[in-house]
């Protein structure tokens, strides 16, 4: 299927080539005066050689999804609960193995780079720009493929018990998850805007359906619809940006764009900059950067909880992969123009995310704003426009996957049947009821707050370090301040979990003042925001006092969920002590230095 896609894309570019026979566009890649000839013979023919190795994990996911559909058609409905989840875990595992193999395969390729700049460039382009020059086969891609594989495994493990509890068991959830993963992988591996857009759409459409997956919850349907409408809106903006950039540079390929912009200085760069701005908007929507974040709280709140975790991990990672590819590769010459824009977005994202999260009473909305704030840190790494910053961003995305999926998995446990309790009160006294679960949640909360000896700390450290190294002291300070603000609402949840009933009662006098405020401000809320009431003051005890009692729901933790939580928590702590992950992330930035 992918071969077919690439084939189609290739033909399109071939037609462009044949119409202007004198200038073979795809062959105009040059670097430092060194012309490339070896790759051109491939693209000029109608036949596109498909280097399957470069999209191995994608193939695994796609074939796996098709196989799941086939199996479900053969088997009687509801034949064996958990079978699809098991198969999805297996598919994700295969994809992970494939990406690990790819990692070492690229190591082999890198080991045989011939001497000489021109020869090395030709070699690299021949081996690492594959499938009609549409797919990069580099460690950057592979890191994201591994990330998506991990997210798929964790997602399948945590989804199963949720779906069964909600009576939604079926193959579709897993197929959608696999397809969303496919799109995300393609985004990360894309070598041009066309492939990036294809990946974006494959992923987004699956995610729209996933958001609306809970048939009996109106909120879920609303979330899906909102996500779809706004997503389509942002896709249109993105496409317009693609068109403008193509108009300005004559190519949709990142390397060609970079070469063109490096070799020529544009007398009128308005079109290019407008295109760049629109690309940033389109991708900024996917990563939920302020001011393109409005959909996030509503969608996360409405989506089935494990899917919200999957979205937060995968969609964000893929969006950032796209941003890094576009800005750091395609438009790397335009740093002076996009860095201030990203700077502003980072500041807004950090502050709005943290501040808004404080005002939330709904766990999923709080996490939505928290994930917005976390995206701000990745933007800080992106803004540094250095390999340290990129490595920090990659590290951030990879470790955040474990943290956020674990957190949402725990929320899906404690919310109870029908997502009855998503408010903060649901976690009250959790430490007494489920000490282990509370401890694991505490790990995730501390990691998100950036407490040392967790991956969250290292991640924040690396991106802020990158900001400092690139001289962005103001941004670094804002990022740290935002972490301080954010610590409040993470620790509030921890306080609720470990606080005793007595403390909550002691804070009762503060309630009366807060009730009036919430009554007054509540009117402005939209239809689905029943759970959203402002916290009257920042006094922790007062905040807890106004909450409802914890639910008497059955918080059974099934084995797969327990295993997934164990993996997430173990990774968060183990990789937080001293992390070889950052070395992987550093390796994954190598292609950016192809100069």
């Amino acid at each position: 299927m992918i071969g077919l896609l690439a084939d189609v894309v290739g033909r399109v570019s071939d037609q462009a080539t044949t119409s202007t026979t004198t200038i073979p566009v795809p062959c105009s890649i040059s670097s430092g005066g060194a012309k490339i000839t070896s790759v051109c013979s491939d693209t000029n023919s109608l036949h596109i050689s498909v280097a399957y190795r470069s999209i191995l994990p994608v193939l695994v996911l796609v074939i796996g999804a098709l196989a799941l559909l086939a199996i479900s058609a053969v088997l009687p409905k509801r034949s064996r609960p958990g079978l699809y989840a098991l198969l999805t875990v297996a598919i994700g595992g295969l994809a992970l193995i494939a990406s690990v193999w790819q990692w070492s395969d690229i190591g082999n390729i890198n080991a045989h780079v011939p001497a000489g700049a021109q020869a090395a460039l030709n070699y690299r382009l021949a081996h690492q720009l594959t499938i009609g020059q549409q797919v990069f086969y580099d460690r950057f891609s592979v890191l994201f493929m591994a990330l998506v594989s991990v997210a798929t495994i964790l997602g399948a493990m945590t989804t199963d018990s949720y779906l069964r509890r909600e009576g939604l068991d079926g193959v579709e959830a897993y197929v959608l998850m696999l397809m969303a993963g496919t799109g995300a992988m393609l985004m990360a591996a894309s070598a041009g805007l066309i492939m990036l857009f294809l990946g974006l759409e494959i992923m987004s459409i699956s995610l729209y359906v996933m958001a609306a997956y809970h048939r009996r919850r109106t909120q879920s349907g609303e979330a899906g619809l909102k996500y779809f409408v706004l997503g389509a809106f942002s896709s249109a903006i993105f496409l317009y940006g693609v068109a403008l950039v193509y108009g300005a540079t004559g190519s949709t390929q990142f390397l060609e764009m970079a070469n063109f912009l490096g070799a020529n200085s544009l007398s009128h760069n308005g079109i290019l900059l407008a295109g760049m701005a629109l690309l940033i908007v389109g991708l900024g929507f996917k990563v939920a950067a302020v001011p393109f974040h409005f959909w996030t709280p509503d969608v996360y709140q409405g989506s089935p909880t494990p899917f919200a975790g999957y979205m937060a991990a995968v969609a964000k990672a893929a969006g950032f992969a796209g941003l890094l590819r576009v800005l750091d590769m395609g438009l790397s010459t335009q740093q002076a123009n996009w860095r201030p824009a990203i700077w502003l977005m980072a500041v807004l994202t950090l502050l709005v995310g943290s501040v808004m999260a404080i005002a939330q009473r709904d766990l999923k909305r709080m996490l939505a704003y928290s994930s917005i704030s976390q995206a701000g840190y990745v933007l800080v790494g992106l803004q540094a426009a250095s390999s340290t910053g990129t490595a920090g961003a990659l590290f951030y995305l990879f470790t955040y996957t474990f943290i956020i999926m674990g957190t949402f998995a725990i929320i899906s446990i404690i919310q109870g049947r029908g997502e009855a309790r998503n408010d903060l009160g649901a976690v009250r006294g959790l430490a007494k009821r489920r000490p282990l679960l509370a401890a694991v949640l505490l790990v995730f909360l501390l990691a998100q707050a950036g407490v040392p000896f967790t991956t969250g700390f290292l991640a924040k450290f690396y991106v802020i370090q990158a900001a400092v190294q690139s001289g962005q002291y103001v941004l670094a300070i804002i990022a740290m301040l935002s972490a301080a603000i954010a610590a409040f609402f993470y620790l509030r949840v921890a306080l609720l979990m470990y606080g005793t009933e007595g403390e909550a009662v002691a804070g009762a006098p503060g309630v009366s003042g807060g009730a009036g405020v919430s009554g007054g401000a509540g009117a402005g809320d939209g239809s689905i925001l029943a759970g959203l009431q402002p916290i009257p003051s920042l006094d922790g005890a007062t905040a807890t006092a106004t909450l409802l009692d914890p639910p008497a729901v059955d918080e059974k933790v099934r084995l797969p969920v327990a295993v997934a939580l164990g993996i997430c928590a173990a990774f968060t702590i183990a990789a937080g002590l001293s992390s070889p992950m950052i070395d992987f992330a550093r390796h994954a930035t190598t292609l950016f230095n192809l100069k």
Partner: protein, 639 residues
């Protein structure tokens, strides 16, 4: 060599198990678990020691990497262990004595409410101490340094429901912080000058004479390191916390305030010998502070009535000896005294604990007496410890003290004289203690002391010998105190400690101290005579219990130094602190924080209005955002 990991891993594993499962493991079992962890650590130390023995002297330094801790710019700090003769000597005696005290605690702490917490802290303490001595860099050592400080706080204040214990713990912690400040300044200076914290990078070139150090730098770093040591090892002027720290359970006093934590300063100074070599001023400061502390603490010990406070002041005094030895340039003598002192002082503390245990938590020596008949094992072991501390040959205190005094003589006869007087005083106050506790008439009542005590348990009845888990460590330590001197006897080629530590203190930085054999004999005999004099005086004078003339108030109150410091420092500081807390903290800091919080939540409330829930508004928001970005890039067009 890989047993080194075991040394570190076992205590922390034990601590973690006890932290999370201590309550479930329960009363005696958690104690045994901790003891096994400590014992295993000791076994690991022995294995490492043995494998180091198998190497030639020059390459008895092995680095064991655990993981990279801080890779920031040019600063690269590893979690790594350095196994060399000095660290192995330290870890051997730390884990050895530590294991015995763990064992003893099983009996002593029996029935305590927080039994698992006690052993958790003990194991954590042992871990920190091991990290302190095995670390391969000053910074990693500092981690252990702070760790022992914290555990000491937790253990001194173990019975925190007693006001005095809580205050003492706070005092110990705060006083230690002053020293820690010095350590940190030393770290900063060191990084500024060497660009590294690791022992091999900082000390290696200095020790081998490949580089030199400016005198001023060496003095600065040395003084600051010594300030750290002064805090941890309770020297003038930061010694006041140690007597108060006797509020902790007795095994804690033995473990922390006799055998291990207080020796951290001695270790630090010995470790830094290559730096100190470049500054004679610092060596003089160390020697003088040590000698003065030894004398001052010994005088105070003569008039104390609490059985543990006597030993506490004695510990301060003996630590002063160790610094006197190190300041005189004889690090080996200082370290040897540290080892022997660990034996006999741990023995004395544990024996005192056994007495306290037998008398249901009575600590006033004036209310003891005639106990020798009732405690048939504790008594002889205590006497061995007493003779060793008093410097009576052939017990090991004599030999190590003698070595230090020889070096002091080499430095300056005045220092020797101070040391000799201190030796006499030591024999005197220990004799007083023996006379008051063990000899004479019983002044305790057999039914008196119900209701006292954190570990509860016994009702009235006659004093009784402690269970075997408590007496066995006493016997082992008594054996060590009797024969420990064979580790480093100054004759017959028996100076094992000297030979073992020789690679750590090469002659380039530690020229041998030459005191003629004849002089040595004369000095030794003179000191021994003084000791016997003190012994006789003490035993005869304290046949009577009430001798107010021999207990002047000025000594009872420790020269009023504590009071003076409290009045001069603590009082104004407390007032300043409360002023700050009411004015600055409540108004300015809290005001700023609360204001920020109010501002944040207010902003959040306002921002929330944008979150209407209507898709059209969201789309408008995205549109406005797009417009803003487009407007921004429009300003960049053409640039």
């Amino acid at each position: 060599m890989n047993a080194a990991y075991l040394i570190v891993a076992l205590p922390i594993t034990g601590a973690l198990i006890l932290l999370f499962g201590g309550r479930r493991i329960g009363d005696p079992l958690s104690g045994w678990l901790a003891t096994i962890a400590a014992g295993g650590s000791f076994v690991g130390s022995v294995i490492v020691w043995a494998s180091l023995l198998g190497r030639s002297g020059a390459d008895r330094t092995v680095d064991k990497q655990i993981f990279t801790w801080i890779p920031v710019g040019s600063l690269h700090v590893d979690f790594a262990l350095q196994l060399d003769p000095l660290s192995i000597a330290m870890v051997l005696f730390v884990t050895g004595v530590g294991s015995l005290i763990h064992l003893y605690s099983i009996g002593y702490m029996k029935g305590d409410r927080s039994y698992p917490r006690f052993f958790f802290l003990l194991n954590l303490f042992l871990f920190s101490m091991i990290v302190l001595v095995l670390a391969d860099s000053y910074l990693f050592s500092f981690v252990g340094w702070e760790g022992v400080g914290f555990c000491s706080y937790g253990l001194v204040g173990f019975w925190f429901d007693r006001e005095t214990a809580a205050v003492a713990a706070k005092k110990a912690f705060v006083t230690n912080r002053v020293g820690d400040f010095g350590f940190m300044v030393a770290l900063f200076l060191m990084f500024g000058h060497f660009g590294s914290f690791s022992y091999s990078a900082v000390l290696g070139p200095l020790a081998s004479g490949h580089s030199t150090l400016a005198g001023a730098t060496a003095t600065g770093i040395g003084l600051m390191l010594f300030l750290g040591a002064v805090g941890k090892s309770a020297q003038i002027p930061l010694y006041m916390w140690l007597p108060d720290a006797m509020e902790g359970p007795t095994p804690v006093s033995a473990l922390i305030h006799a055998a291990t934590m207080v020796t951290a300063g001695v270790y630090l100074v010995a470790r830094s010998a290559p730096i100190l070599h470049y500054s004679h001023a610092v060596l003089w400061v160390i020697a003088i502070v040590g000698a003065t502390t030894a004398l001052l603490a010994a005088t105070i010990a003569c008039a104390q009535n609490d059985i543990k406070r006597v030993l506490a002041y004695s510990t301060i005094s003996q630590l002063g000896y160790m610094f006197l030895g190190e300041g005189s340039g004889d690090y080996t003598a200082g370290l040897f005294h540290m080892i022997t002192h660990a034996f006999f002082k741990a023995l004395l503390f544990l024996a005192a604990g056994s007495v306290i245990h037998a008398l249901n938590d009575e600590q006033d020596m004036k209310k003891m007496g005639g106990l020798r008949k009732y405690l048939p094992i504790t008594f002889p072991t205590f006497i061995i410890g007493y003779l060793a501390l008093s410097g009576i040959p052939p017990f090991d205190g004599f030999w190590s003290k003698d070595a230090i005094l020889d070096s002091a003589w080499h430095m300056s006869p005045a220092l020797w004289a101070v040391g000799a007087v201190t030796a006499g005083l030591t024999a005197y106050y220990m004799s007083r203690q023996v006379a008051l506790v063990w000899l004479g008439q019983a002044r305790w009542t057999s039914d008196g002391h119900e209701g006292g005590g954190g570990h509860g348990g016994h009702g009235g009845g006659e004093p009784h010998e402690s269970p075997w888990v408590m007496t066995a460590p006493l016997v082992i330590l008594a054996f060590c105190a009797t024969f420990g001197w064979l580790l480093n006897a100054p004759f017959g080629g028996l100076d094992f400690v000297n030979k073992w530590l020789a690679p750590v203190f090469p002659s380039t930085i530690d020229p041998a101290v030459h005191v003629g054999t004849g002089t040595k004999w004369v000095l030794g005999i003179a000191v021994t005579a003084i000791c016997f004099l003190g012994l006789g005086l003490g035993l005869t004078a304290w046949r009577k219990v009430d001798r107010p003339a021999l207990e002047p108030a000025v000594l009872v109150h420790g020269w009023y130094i504590d009071e003076a410091v409290s009045a001069a420092v603590s009082g104004p500081l407390t007032r300043m602190a409360s002023a700050f807390s009411f004015m600055i903290d409540a108004r300015v800091v809290d005001g700023a924080v609360n204001g920020l919080a109010r501002f944040t939540s207010g902003t959040g409330r306002q921002l929330r209005r944008m979150q209407t829930g209507y898709v059209r508004n969201y789309a408008l928001g995205i549109g406005i955002g797009t417009a803003v970005i487009l407007a921004f890039v429009a300003t960049r067009v053409g640039s």
